[in-house]
Symmetry: C2
Subunit: 605 residues, 2 copies
């Protein structure tokens, strides 16, 4: 099936809903981009996704990256497409917003969403290169930047992020990889094994720039003791030219359920004691603490939003395919006539469910990017600070709710197709397989739920979280009773009060150190926050749609789009958001059956 994407919704978000101007008016962008550029960027980007990128998606699935005699070979076409994207400004050079050519995130990410939908594996290659480049842009010396960035941005080199080790997964602080000083204070020897390195190898570029967490001799235990090092596959001389092969060896690639176009590698650093890396940031302080993980996490926060975003992009693409199939497939009768299946109530329900979820989550995601843009670029320091905090709160919601929901949406899209959806004739079975990793990498769902209840709720004495809640409360107060959305605002208001109740319960649990309960109900609390946020975004969008509709006649070609926007909000508020009441009652009752259950009766042996 041809690649189709919901470009209309992206345009609505950027041009009709978000205060995009606030970003474009920042000094950084004011001479570079205007609202008028958006249509062209999106239209061109969509064309590249349709014509250049989407064709290699299935190729990568059927011809996965393979490992033979120490060499990883990417699927046919991956090298060319990667370089096409990077060279033509659709990739890292636009994504790294601090660079001269960098775009505001809200604009670039609307293109990247389509790339991730068109070929998730290729999306990973781009995103990791951008991520590694961003770390160097933010924390590298001027020399580092000159040495590495030009070719990382041109498509000649790619980048990776190395955190996980065989015995250090969710707990990064247990990493065993070591770094040893050399005569050059910036250069360390690296020794250790990293695994699950996405796009860790694959011969699509002449060089790979690994960013590697490792513990220097004076580094303390735990994650605080980790430093961060630039470890190129081929050494890079100070003038940027290639030196000899560094001692980095790919020892295996994973055989995975999906995302097969991108090689997930196990890498050995310093097997022959000849692996060198360049330190980023400062050496450890007197307590043995480094900023390695913090530097990587700064990049990762954006990339966590990015993970939820990729997931939603894949779900959105699956929804697009399902909606087209539902128009074409004739099956069953209504009033004696054979009909396309979109006429059947349950098929419409599934399409509406996918539309509401993907558009609602997309709205939340772009709120996240908008806040990151303001945080990075606003001249108003208070506003920037508040936006950074807001993005930090939204990050776990987007990552976890976005990725978990995407799996369900992919299942639902397959259900629309029925049996053929389970076959490789349609892209849905690949999309379902590809998307499942997104609930795991960049931190599992529970890691993010913990991040929410242990960090984000409590950072800055809890004020940023309360401020986020307050904004939702004000939104309700100002708009409740809006004609046509009365019931929906009542639901949102009730859901908001549920959220407030759960927040109070968490305050109480924190005060009383109820660690078990904090963990037990974390994920469900994240769902409550996410659903309230998504419903509030969809209602905001509905208000914008109502305003526009007031100026359009009902036969305007775009009138239905706005009706669809309002239907999304109503559907979500009435069919999904009530889940908040349910979860709140469950948390309120604080069932302890899990703790009462003897551990050995949880184990099937």
């Amino acid at each position: 099936m041809e690649f189709k994407y919901n470009v209309r919704d992206l345009k609505f978000i950027l041009k009709e809903w978000l205060p995009t101007k606030e970003v474009l008016e920042c000094d950084r962008f004011k001479d570079l981009y205007s609202l008028e550029d958006i249509d062209q960027i999106l239209t061109e980007g969509y064309k590249v996704c349709r014509e250049v990128i989407s064709p290699i998606n299935v190729v990568g699935d059927r011809n996965p990256a393979v490992f033979n005699n120490g060499v990883v070979t990417s699927p046919p076409g991956y090298k060319e497409v990667f370089q096409f994207i990077q060279k033509n400004g659709w990739g890292s050079s636009s994504e790294c917003s601090k660079l001269e050519g960098g775009m505001p995130l809200i604009i670039y990410k609307s293109v990247f969403e389509m790339i991730a939908a068109a070929c998730p594996a290729m999306g990973s290659n781009i995103k990791l290169t951008s991520g590694a480049a961003n770390v160097i842009i933010n924390f590298g010396s001027e020399d580092d930047k000159k040495r590495f960035l030009p070719k990382m941005l041109s498509g000649e080199w790619q980048g990776t992020m190395n955190l996980t080790e065989p015995s250090a997964g969710s707990d990064v602080g247990d990493a065993l990889t070591k770094s040893y000083p050399t005569d050059d204070p910036k250069v360390y020897k690296i020794k250790g094994t990293k695994m699950f390195i996405t796009a860790g190898d694959g011969s699509i570029c002449e060089n790979t720039i690994h960013l590697v967490l490792a513990r220097p001799p004076q580094g303390c235990q735990g994650s605080a003791g980790l430093g961060l090092y630039i470890v190129p596959k081929f050494w890079v001389n100070e003038d940027g030219s290639l030196g000899k092969l560094n001692d980095v060896t790919t020892v295996a690639v994973e055989h995975k359920m999906g995302l097969k176009g991108s090689a997930t590698c196990m890498l050995n650093y310093g097997e022959n004691d000849e692996c060198f890396g360049i330190m980023l940031g400062a050496p450890p302080d007197e307590k043995g603490r480094s900023q390695g993980l913090a530097m990587m996490f700064r990049m990762m926060n954006e990339s966590r939003i990015g993970t939820g975003h990729n997931a939603n992009a894949q779900a959105s693409s699956a929804y697009a395919q399902a909606s087209l199939y539902a128009c074409q497939r004739i099956q069953g009768y209504i009033k004696g006539e054979r009909v396309p299946i979109i006429k059947h109530p349950d098929v419409r329900r599934m399409l509406m469910d996918m539309k509401a979820h993907t558009e609602g989550i997309r709205a939340m995601i772009f709120k996240g990017y908008f806040n990151l843009d303001i945080a990075e670029n606003s001249a108003d320091k208070d506003k920037a600070q508040k936006s950074a905090e807001r993005a930090a709160i939204l990050t776990p919601l987007i990552k976890c709710y976005g990725s978990e929901t995407a799996v369900l949406m992919n299942c639902e899209a397959m259900q629309v197709l029925g049996g053929v959806g389970y076959t490789q004739e349609f892209p849905l079975e690949q999309s379902l397989r590809d998307s499942k990793i997104l609930t795991i990498w960049e931190g599992t769902s529970f890691i993010h739920a913990q991040d929410l209840v242990k960090r984000k709720m409590r950072m800055g004495d809890g004020k940023p979280f309360l401020s986020w809640m307050k904004d939702i409360e004000s939104f309700i107060t100002v708009n409740e009773g809006t004609a046509g959305l009365e019931r929906e605002f009542i639901n949102l208001s009730q859901a908001y009060h549920c959220l407030a109740e759960v927040k109070n319960l968490y305050d109480f649990w924190h005060l009383n150190k109820k660690d078990e309960l904090i963990g037990l109900y974390a994920l469900r609390t994240l769902y409550i926050c996410s659903m309230v946020m998504v419903a509030s975004c969809l209602l905001e969008q509905s208000l914008a749609a109502q305003r526009t509709m007031a100026e359009l006649s009902a036969d305007h070609y775009d009138f239905n789009f706005y009706q669809g926007k309002i239907a999304c909000a109503k559907y979500y508020a009435n069919n999904i958001l009530p889940g908040v009441f349910n979860l709140t009652e469950i948390i309120r009752n604080t069932d302890l059956s899990i703790q009462e259950c003897p551990e050995d009766s949880l184990i099937v042996n």
Copy 2:
């Protein structure tokens, strides 16, 4: 990882919970099986699954059935294992309960559950052969039985069911395959194309006996006009010996997301006008109506329960793997100590969730089989009738709720493992892929939701459905206030009243022909019925556990098992069942956003 299964729960169901004796005391079984046989049958069956069947599961996934030059070749080992199962009494000869050696369903299915968990693709081969044999047992002439059954039961031949066609999926009545009378009134010529024929070919037997729906010349339109024919791949002479190749050609096999060990075939019947089939049942009546679909559905009803059962078996196996991994994987710290991840609250939550769902759904499934056993074998005709109706009500719940939940449980099991769960090192990614088809075949989830609200709620003037509700109500009345389960019975009682409310709403909608609403809320109504039923089963099991615990000391080796049973019921009643309140409120509010949404705004184009 080694195959592990929750045999203890199966033994509990058969020996400590269900009134198994009522089945064993039926004339049909009373001299053949006793409660004392159950342990041995399960222990031996488990051994066969572990040692013989489970090793080929991954083999089939990595070496799928392939189609080359018109020949389908099954994965290595499949032929041998199929024949081993069939020859040694673990397959069709035991599953066809009307045969001399047939077991009660509740006993055989407890073994089959482990087979389906050990290798779902092999499970399909067995089940389809049993299903085809069962149709012949129930509807074939004595000659048909002599001609086909011996070798179908011995492992020499296999069986298939042929319903779907390219333009007739969910709507079987649109089938285009035709049958033409010959000089022999029992023999018809068959012409047409069938698709999605599971185990439709694969060279694991010397012959394949297809049961094919086709429309005779005098057959009316729609599903009522379809006849059912025995169409062997090689003709079978009246003495049971093999004749020449019948004109049945495999033209393709599907490339699927999972269940790759079993070939899903497209079959052409009568390309050269030389395909013959033997009619089952009578020719069409004067209105052109045949009993073809009804005969197949009689078999399919059991096989729909079987589909939910397979799904739950796969979920249960995934849960077993996740529970073992959670004990072995060391990650993170609690009070300064590195711990296996089972100590982390969210991992325990996931294990508890999988335990409660799989044990609860298993309980509902075995209620279904128990009722089928009584329906088929009780001398008390009223009781048999009531049991048949009860099984008919439970069938859509088991099929739909069982299969949809299994996908979620497989996702959850993978989540326990994290990144490694996404790789082929562990069986979970295969299990997730394998299980997804079960929400689609044997009728999609929506087909079953419609079956519930349009047929099962209303059959027999609605009395059987009310009788099912009444039994749950009585169970609550008798047991509410049980010490230790007070809150759980309150929840069940509230959920029951929700169910009653939704039932009334449906009566009203039926009366007022609100077809759109009937369809729109069907799936959610099925979830309400399922959750009430599962909670009630788990609470019944808890009462049995409480009774046993009263006689055991707390240090008895099996004490924890019973505590686990009670924890399951409490977890489900307090964490899952409240979903019923939520769904009921949604149905009560009857949101119409889906109908208000313009169709073209549901389509991404």
